[in-house]
Each structure stands twice: as C-alpha cells, then as structure tokens.
Amino acid sequence: MSALREVLAAAALVAGKDLRIEARSRVATNHVLPFVAVVVMLFAFALDTEATTLRRAAGGLFWVTVVFAAVLVVQRGAQLEQQDGAGEALRLSGLRPAGVFLGKGAALFVELMVVEVVLAVAMVVLYDLRLGGVVLLVVTAVVATAAIAAAGAIYGPLVAGLSGRETVLPLLLLPVLAPVLLAASRAFEVALGRGVGSGWPWVGMLGMLCGIYVVLGALTSGPLLDET
C-alpha cells in the first residue's frame, strides 16, 4: 500500500473514532451547541437588540463564536486522548502520524461545520439576517473551518498532558486563529452585502493559511505523537 493510502486510511480510522466518541458522548450537542446559543444571545445584550446593529456585525460575530466554540471542541479532543491511555494506544497503534493529524483535523472539521450550521440558523432567526452571496458564504465557511480544524489538530495534541492546559490552549490557539477570523469575517461581510470589494481574495488568504497549518501539522505530527 502506498504511503498516501496509508495516511488516508489512518485519517479515516481516527476521524471515524473521534466522531463516534462525540456521537455517543453527545458533548458537542449537549455542551457546545448550548454555549453557541448563549453567545448569540449575549451579543444581542452587549451590542444592541436593534437588528440593524447585529446585522452589520453579523459576519464578525459569527466567526468570533465559531473560534470560541473551536477552543472548546479542541479542548475536548485533547482531554479524550488523556483518558484511559487513549493517547498511548494511538501512539502504539502504528498508524502514520500524518494520518492521525489529518483524521483529528477531519473530525474537528465535521464537528465545527455542525456548530456553524446551527449558529447560522440561530443568527438568521434571532438577528433577522438575510443571506446573500451563498456561494461565497459556503466556500468561506468550508475553507475557514478547514484552517481552524488544522490549527486545532496541531494545538490539541500539543497541550495534551500539560498542567493548566485549559488556560494555555486559548493563549496559544487564539493568536493563530486571529488571521483566519479576520479574513473569514471580511469575506462574510462582503457576502452579506456589508463589506466593500470582492470577498474572494479573503478566501485565497484563508486557503493559504489552511495550507500552512496542514503542512506544518503533517510535518510535526510525528514528533508530537511520540513526545506528548
């Protein structure tokens, strides 16, 4: 079997494992989705209940919420690998580290996409948001989520096992996600008719960031899997 096939097979196995655990434990649905709903409400309290203000800031608010949710989801993934020697088992499984990284990233991607769909529906209903530029919205969401998932798949294993990882993870992850947040917010503003210029250069920047994180994650997954 070629190396690429081995990597992809490992990725599918790990992604399947992580998604099955999430489906059975229902942490995403029982903890993260209610958290997202609370944040959507809080934004309205903090800014203005006037729909115009919320609609104007909707793109940024959407991605701030996604980034906060991502911290929770990554935290949860790191915690899972610490329980019952799961990380040790993964290390001894003989799976290709790049495949493990891609699998973890893919699972994070799926979980975050579910969060984003629910968040989008909540914002459309509560903020009276009118969706325009659907193609730009969807492509931005997919590429930005892939970038967030890739960064999360690097930083999750990196903080696993560290004392005080709950506070260290946001400190490490949020600065890395800030460029993603910026580009995705601007692209969403354009798609929602609030921004100026074209949204596609922002998507290009998101793609570049995603590429950087995927390459770095694949290259560093071996040492991280061995040592953490």
């Binding site: 560290l162 460029p179 250069p201 994180y213 770095l216 560093t220 040592e227 953490t228």
Partner: protein, 257 residues
C-alpha cells in the same frame, strides 16, 4: 554496608561571560553609541516625519532583529525536531525569549511613533496587529517553556510552537499589501528612491547592524544561563537519587543490625 557513590559537583560558575562575549559586548556598546550619535547629533529632523524620524533608528533595527531571532529560533527548532539535541532546543528557547523582548520594543516604539503621526497610539493597522499577534505567540511559547514537563516533551512542544510562529511572519510582512494597511510603507529597502537622506540612512544602517550584534551578545549569555540551569536541574536530580540511595542503605543497615 557498601560504599555509596556521592554526587560530584562541578566548579561553581560565577559568570556567563567569556573573552569572546566581552569583545562582542564591547563592539555592541560601540555600535549603540555610534547609532545614538547619528540619531541625535549628526542627523536633524526629517522634512516629512519631523523629530519622530529618530524613533525609526530604534524601531526598524528592533523589528529586523526580532524577525531574525524568530527565524533563528525556528531554524533551531526544525533542527531539534530532526536531530533532537539539547543545543538546538536551548538555542531556540533563548532566541525566542530575546526575540520577544525586541518585538516588545518594536511595538512600544511603533506606538510612540504612531501617536504624533496618526494622532493615536494604536490603529488596527494590519502590520501592527499581526506584529502584536506574533508577540502574543512568543508569550505563549514562553508560557509553555515555563510549565513543568519532561525536558524532551517540553522541547518538542516548544519546537512546534516556534515553527508555527515563523509561519506567521510572511503574513506579517505581506500584510500591508493584503489588508490595504495604513502603516508606513517600505521606506528604506523596498524602493529604489529611498526617502531618507545620506546621514539618516547611515544612522539607520548602523542601528540595523547594532541590533543583531546586541542580540548575538544577549543570545550568548541567555544560552549559557539556560545551559547552566539544565545542568543544575540534573545535579538536583542526581543529588535526590543519591539521597534516596543513602536512605535505603541506612534502612537496610538498620534492619540487619
């Protein structure tokens, strides 16, 4: 009772200095003095930037030195992930720490320059913002280094963090073009028609030489401190093991008597 080995203590070290570091320090001090002389005595205020041009003699060298140190740290980190030796890990940690200081100086001097130029200390300009983000990433690196962990594991985590920091540097440097920045464009190196006159340019280049020389001097000392700290940690471990052995030996002797 068998004789137990006692830990050997190396000769105490009272300085991280050496002949080489003292020479380098003297050169750095001379370059700083020359830069100050050019910045405050030889050159006058700029026709466009006024007196604020003097901040650039510190701001530009500090940012270049900071990027250089981040690159050194990333190179050492990549080498560490490949060869796994202590030298590269400590070099990366030392370079990141000093880079963080230079990046802090860059941010502060940038804000001091921004106040008279833009009217505010901080604008959400792309280059400023991403430089601040890079600074925060280096702070994160320092936090991870400070957490208690097994040295090999800590070195691996730090190396990965350092590489990700380097990946952000191109985004920082190109951010002016990408995000249509308000920041002062490339004034010295980017265009053929530099806007600074000859003495100003010379002063700036003196600063750009002295920054890396100071960084090299600091790096030499910081690396030696880190190296000694590792040795002290090992010594503490050896002493603890020897103490446990002595205790065990004493218990065994007590049990047989």
């Amino acid at each position: 009772m068998t004789d137990l080995p006692t830990p050997t203590h190396p000769a105490p070290v009272d300085s991280t200095g050496s002949r080489g570091s003292r020479i380098l320090g003297a050169i750095a001090a001379g370059l700083v003095a020359a830069t100050c002389f050019y910045a405050f005595v030889v050159t006058g205020p700029d026709s466009q930037l006024g007196e604020t041009v003097r901040i650039l003699y510190l701001h530009v060298p500090s940012v270049i030195t900071a990027y250089l140190l981040v690159a050194i740290a990333a190179g050492a980190s990549a080498f560490h992930l490949w060869k796994r030796n202590e030298f590269s890990d400590l070099l990366a940690a030392s370079a990141t720490e000093i880079g963080m200081v230079f990046l802090g100086v860059t941010l502060v001097t940038g804000m001091l320059w921004g106040r008279p130029t833009w009217g505010v200390y901080w604008v959400w300009d792309a280059r400023l913002t991403t430089t601040a983000l890079l600074f925060l990433m280096l702070v994160g690196y320092a936090v991870v280094r400070s957490l208690p962990a097994e040295p090999r594991s800590r070195a691996t985590r730090s190396a990965v963090l350092s590489l990700v920091s380097l990946a952000l540097v191109p985004v920082v440097s190109r951010s002016v073009e990408w995000w249509n920045s308000l920041h002062q464009g490339q004034t010295v190196l980017g265009t053929s028609d530099a806007k600074l006159d000859g003495a100003q340019l010379f002063g700036l280049f003196l600063g750009m030489v002295s920054g890396p020389v100071i960084a090299a001097w600091l790096l030499m000392h910081r690396f030696r401190v880190a190296w000694l700290a590792e040795r002290a940690e090992e010594l503490g471990l050896d002493a603890a093991i020897a103490a446990r052995r002595l205790e065990a030996g004493g218990d065994a002797a007590g049990a047989t008597s």
